[in-house]
């Protein structure tokens, strides 16, 4: 018999002192408490709703909406269903988010790099921009653009013509709209060919550099393939594109692409506000890269452009991307402030008008929140995956 078998096992503690049982007890208490709480809330809600004559269920989604929407990316009129209002609102939110994210990224990166410029004046101006617009509430900025600035534009009859058929007045910004004609598909095909060619070219250039050491101007050729080549084909095929110019008919413009002032004010404010935060994120990312990296690279003879591309930016992006995606999410959530100026985003159209008309607060709120939550959780998981993948390998 081995010593191990005859050795005494430590005696079991009393149940109430055993950490395992205590843990179990506390957790059970938590679950019971939560369940009770949720149960009473649901109970109250159902009885309250019954008392007020509010129906439940999702049947309302198929009912006729009976109201118009200021701007819609898909067909919508008063006969459309409430379900369709959800889609319109969702797409409008998406539109604002995409435009906002794109523009804010450009502005933010530009300002962030400018803040680090060796040019004192440029750096100071960037700082002023960042410190001013970060510290003023977004809603106030939206109001400013919408009520103070855009409301001062002339009426359509006195519209400001900005050249190339662009009209700017109190009803919105009107851009000439392209109307592809029958031969346009050739240009589209040319673009696709250019894109595929670019992918092959990049691989070939990389291989060539490995084998012969010679460098190829990949950047310029990419530009040529994606823009120059399709444009060339466009010209050759006789420019098969009509332009619909906005034309003053009656009291307003019609034709072309109309950007309503609500959309302009919202995107402008979101871009400028979020851009300031992105600028700080970019600045922090670039500063996070040790100056010694720059010194070592320069000492090895790398040019400034190579230093940026090969050493600084890869390391800076690691630090920039997580808070950057956080800013993108903030921008998307902040787009809900559209309600304040009447832009028909998801919250305004669905959680606002539709909720008012149907009274079905629970279902509508749940659907709206589900949209934002899904977006948040998706982006968060993507970011966690990215972080794990890009983590610096250490001991």
């Amino acid at each position: 018999m081995s010593e191990l078998e005859t050795a005494q096992k430590p005696s079991n503690p009393a149940v109430w002192n055993d950490p395992k049982y205590r843990a179990l007890f506390f957790q059970t208490a938590l679950i019971v408490g939560l369940v009770y709480f949720l149960y009473s809330v649901v109970n109250n809600t159902l009885s309250n709703m019954e008392a007020r004559g509010i129906s439940t269920g999702f049947a309302f989604l198929t009912e006729k909406a009976g109201f118009g929407i200021l701007q819609s990316l898909i067909q919508f009129n008063e006969d459309s269903s409430y379900g369709r209002t959800f889609l319109v609102g969702l797409m409008n939110t998406g539109l604002v988010a995409v435009l906002g994210i794109f523009l804010a990224t450009l502005l933010g990166f530009g300002m962030g790099v400018a803040r680090l410029s060796s040019n004192w004046l440029i750096a100071k101006l960037a700082t002023v921009y960042i410190e001013i617009f970060r510290n003023i509430p977004l809603l106030l900025q939206i109001f400013f653009w919408y009520f103070a600035v855009l409301a001062g534009l002339p009426s359509p009859r006195n519209s400001m013509s900005l050249g190339a058929g662009i009209e700017f007045n109190i009803r919105g910004l009107y851009l000439p709209g392209p109307i592809p004609e029958s031969g346009f598909s050739i240009t589209v095909i040319a673009f696709i060919i250019g894109f595929i060619a670019m992918l092959f070219m990049r691989r070939w250039a990389h291989k060539r550099q490995d084998e012969t050491g010679q460098q190829f101007p990949v950047g310029w050729v990419t530009l040529g393939l994606l823009i120059g080549f399709p444009f060339f084909v466009f010209l050759l095929s006789g420019m098969p594109m009509g332009i619909e110019y906005p034309v003053l008919t009656g009291f307003n413009f019609s034709g072309g692409i109309a950007l309503v002032p609500e959309l302009l004010a919202l995107v402008l404010a979101l871009t400028i506000y979020t851009g300031a935060f992105i600028a700080e994120t970019v600045r922090a990312g670039i500063l996070a890269v040790d100056h010694g990296q720059t010194e070592a690279s320069l000492a090895l003879g790398l040019k400034r452009s190579q230093l940026m591309k090969l050493v600084i930016i890869p390391q800076a992006m690691r630090v920039i991307i997580p808070p950057l995606t956080s800013q993108y999410l903030n921008l998307t959530k902040n787009s809900s402030l559209a309600t304040a100026i009447g832009y028909p985003d998801l919250v305004n159209v669905f959680m606002g008008t539709t909720l008012n008309q149907t009274g079905q607060a629970i279902e509508i709120t749940a659907m709206t929140m589900a949209v934002y939550l899904t977006a948040s959780l998706l982006i968060s998981s993507l970011m966690n995956w990215y972080n794990k993948k890009m983590a610096l390998v250490e001991r």
């Binding site: 550099q209 490995d210 084998e211 012969t212 050491g213 010679q214 460098q215 040790d290 010694g292 990296q293 010194e295 070592a296 320069l298 000492a299 090895l300 003879g301 790398l302 040019k303 190579q306 090969l310 050493v311 890869p314 390391q315 690691r318 610096l392 390998v393 250490e394 001991r395």
Partner: protein, 247 residues
Amino acid sequence: MSAEHVIELNGVHKWYGEFHVLKDINLTVEKGERIVICGPSGSGKSTAIRCINHLEEHQRGQIIVDGTELTGDLKHIEQVRKEVGMVFQHFNLFPHLSIIENLTLAPIWVKKVTKAEAEETAMKYLERVKIPEQAFKYPGQLSGGQQQRVAIARSLCMNPKVMLFDEPTSALDPEMISEVLDVMIELAEDGMTMICVTHEMGFAKKVANRVIFMDQGEIVEENEPNEFFNNPQNERTQMFLSQIIQH
């Protein structure tokens, strides 16, 4: 402008704003010479060697490296940096690249050699610094001494004519200092021209042709090691030497 001098500093002055950090530095280095520069912190010794590859810019005087004068001209600067290698106190390896990628980056992008050639050179120098098995690891996985040896190999891959060392062992734990010094001694014995800013006096005694003492921006004393350590002439030199713990 003799082509025999690999490095020539004539009447070099530098200011940081109002502060006169380098005062009338005159120095010539022949091929194959090993120079050690020592001095108290703030004496300008790091600044001086950083001027040689234009990491710092001098305001007065001439700096000529292998026949090329260092002015503001980008072409000259690039030419000089190809011929001069530098090893830093804090290694400055690229953490997002593997060891072998660290070594092949500059040859591929600056000297435009093929990938195969660059990797061959890299492995050769990794063997020279005695850590070829670390080629595919990342800097974060290596010890300080190993990282510094990789840094030396990285500079060597560019086949420089001169190697500059800026306090290469000051950031290392004591037990790793000798592995780096051994590599530097071998390099010296193979005929590499080097200028080394260091406190390691044992290394200076073993390897240096000349020891230079700098203080408050000037070259105070310059002599061959024996004379320098046993017979310091200037009292500032004497004071400095008495404060250094000999290895």
